[in-house]
């Protein structure tokens, strides 16, 4: 029983850690898509930010400068997307894919040229990395049954980014539903012509949304390379940007349901790490590859079968061109 409880706590702990970049990226996608811009380049922005953050952190030995670099680079990528899709009404999927491909090649190539370590950045340590925060009294209460491990493992002892990601959810819900910016954001993704005739610039709204998208992706990518890991690795985002996109659809473009969708995907990931090499009675040891495919299989199944009618923002993916 005790062992089972410990496992639950550890899985919950892992779920939180794994869900952090997913939540940040999914919320980033939420801002973009609610404004009417499809952003399949969440993946590229995560990876790009991870690379920029690790590079700057490795050179300057400052994690905070790394974070600034990660955000700056992701916002820059978002602005390329905005320039192509908003200013020049280009195809949003093509532009997003181009950014993904660009970053996937650019990161390792530059890393190889600069650091000569096979496309990785050097290992970042100490002040060049974000470390978990220990909450007051965590060590003291750790041995108290039930509450102790929950406080020690789940509440305390995470990286700053984990808390940021979770806090971004109520913040986003508030911004989207309770502020003028949110009202205009939702309107521009549903009916840009109504926004235009109300005297608000459609293009500027979409630029603003994509700036927020860039910032959130920048934080998520930074977490990947200099908080969760200690350096940039080739393709370290590993499809999380796409899973975030799936979570966004599964959450029907709403902040809270999107967060729970991210938790669900992170949970399967946490479970799959635990299941590796475990002898399941009656089945035996399942090959690692099958278990690793679990989150992705779940994505497909959920999106195909369980989402029901997910109604995207009506103008999502459609460049706004005045008809008059």
């Amino acid at each position: 029983m005790e062992e089972f409880f410990t496992m639950i706590v550890l899985i919950a702990d892992a779920t939180l850690r794994v869900s952090t970049p997913l939540i940040l990226a999914a919320l980033a996608g939420l801002y973009a898509e609610r404004s009417g811009v499809v952003d399949i380049a969440l993946e590229g922005k995560l990876l790009g930010a991870a690379f920029a953050a690790a590079t700057v952190a490795a050179v300057t030995h400052s994690a905070w400068l790394g974070l600034a670099a990660g955000i700056t680079f992701a916002v820059a990528l978002a602005m390329i997307h905005a320039y192509a899709c908003v200013t020049h009404k280009g195809d949003q999927v093509v532009s997003g894919m181009a950014i993904n491909i660009l970053v996937a090649g650019l990161g390792p190539t530059l890393a190889l040229a600069w650091f000569r370590q096979g496309g990785q950045t050097p290992r970042v340590e100490g002040g060049a990395r974000f470390h978990p925060w220990s909450w007051p009294g965590a060590e003291a209460v750790a041995d108290i049954p039930v509450i102790g491990p929950i406080y020690f493992e789940i509440i305390s002892g995470h990286n700053m980014f984990v808390y940021i990601a979770v806090l971004c959810v109520p913040l986003t819900a508030w911004v989207i539903y309770k502020t003028r910016f949110g009202l205009r954001l939702r309107a521009v993704g549903e009916s840009p012509e109504a926004v235009d005739t109300a005297g608000i610039s459609v293009d500027w709204m979409r630029y603003q949304a994509l700036i927020v998208t860039g910032i959130l992706c920048g934080i998520g990518g930074t977490y990947l390379s200099i908080a969760q890991n200690a350096g940039f690795l080739r393709n370290m985002s590993a499809g999380q940007g796409f899973i975030a996109l799936a979570a966004l659809i599964f959450g029907k473009w709403r902040p809270w349901p999107t967060m729970f969708a991210c938790f669900l995907f992170a949970f399967t990931d946490a479970v799959q790490t635990r299941l590796q090499g475990v002898d399941i009675p009656g089945i035996g040891i399942i090959p690692v590859q099958f278990i690793q495919a679990l989150p992705f299989a779940l994505t497909v199944i959920l999106l195909a079968g369980f989402v029901g009618k997910a109604v995207a923002p009506r103008a999502s993916g459609i460049p706004y061109i005045k008809e008059r």
Partner: protein, 527 residues
Amino acid sequence: MARLVTGLETDVATPIAEAPPALELRGIDKWFGPVHANNGVSFAVPRGSIHGIIGENGAGKSTLMSIVYGYYQADAGQILVNGTAVKITGPQNALSHGIGMVHQHFMLVEPFTVLENVILGAETGRILAPSLERARAELERLERDYSLEVNPDATIETLAVGLRQRVEILKALYRGADILILDEPTGVLTPQEVDQLFDILRALRDQGKTVILITHKLREIMALTDNVTVMRQGEVVANVKTAETSREKLAELMVGRSVLLRVEKTVATPGAEVLAVQDISVRDGQGVRRVKGVSFDVRAGEILGIAGVAGNGQSELLEALAGIRPIESGTIRFKGTEIDAAHMRNARQMRELGMGHVPEDRQRMGLVVSFQANESSILGHQDNPKYTGAILMRQSAIVADVAEKMERFDVRPSNPLLRTSAFSGGNQQKIVLVREMDQNPDLLLVGQPTRGVDIGAIEFIHKRLIAMRDQGKAILLVSVELDEILSLSDRIIVMFDGGIVGEVSQAEADERKLGLMMAGERLGAAA
């Protein structure tokens, strides 16, 4: 805003002599490339009046109003609001001068509530709650003053079209509009909704607002306006008091020649049954049943009109009859051939049986607008040996054939090599009509034959349809234009919510009766 003392029946339409007009245009000029859309347009709209602007499609009405609302800048000319010259740079700027616009296609965010739509772009601060509160109070006041009742918490997608339009009016009033421009506001309304709208507009006028109504419907101008400006080819051709003119005079001014408003036709002599529809039901693309057990027949030598507000199943019915949409149950008998859910015929087979079809949406279903006119003109008949050889199309034969057709139907410009989209609405419609009529079908299905078509072309199209009937052909006409239904049909059935509300003959039909039926009211004498 003080309410006027009721019971005092003063003629508020007459402006006080020295007050400057609410809106005055002086010599407005606008070019789009080689097209002179507005040519020296000048007129004045007195405060507290309803002013009509009438003209055919392409006469420059909408361009002019887009200039007034700030979408476009005039190349030359002056706009005066309350006697002061202003430069209007955009919609927000127009609103600050008190000019509001109700667009033909509603500019509403469908998942939003009425309140959210009203404040969008006119919020009082960064946080929504105070804006919403203020708007709620203000809407209550507007409702009281102008009887513009709408539930402020309803989402737009749940509202009927007439109510959505009220939201648009509320939006403009909330932004402090003193001059309200309405662009073709009645196209999607039932006659009763039109009456309600007119009452609202009169209430607005009586409280000192200025209303500008853009329309191509003469009836509305005569019923509502105080003054009317007639435009033709970008110019103002007349500025008259409505009381001093007539429908016929206005029509003549619009078209530039005298026009027959009422179609000349003799009493029909119906022959044998051509089409018999028995209890058919049809679902739309979303799986919603849109036609619910409808039965009727059409005889040779008559025009059967199907009236109804758009979206009550007429479109699906027409598509099912044309073989485009499967029927769910019931039977269709066309010239003795039985068609039911198990024995469907596709559009080509229906055509081969002798059915012509002029679809409702010519740009989407009737034509390929990016094709040349000659290619659009043979759609559905491209396999005819007249047009195609073993491998290659007979290009010159097609062009020659289409040129002859264009000549006969007065399609302008009569150039078969021009892109279909380069033709005006009326000329596009003629291209479809001549294609379908030339097959000499026994039954012609016609959907919205004159939607977006100018008066001159309407007259031509109506004459052709009557001539076809007189040759003993059967015609099934679906139209949301009551005038058209009334002037063409020999018998009229009214559809509401997928069913037939009733049938009336042309002799016993009038606007009021049909209007009630279109709103779903069964009249005692349903056939």
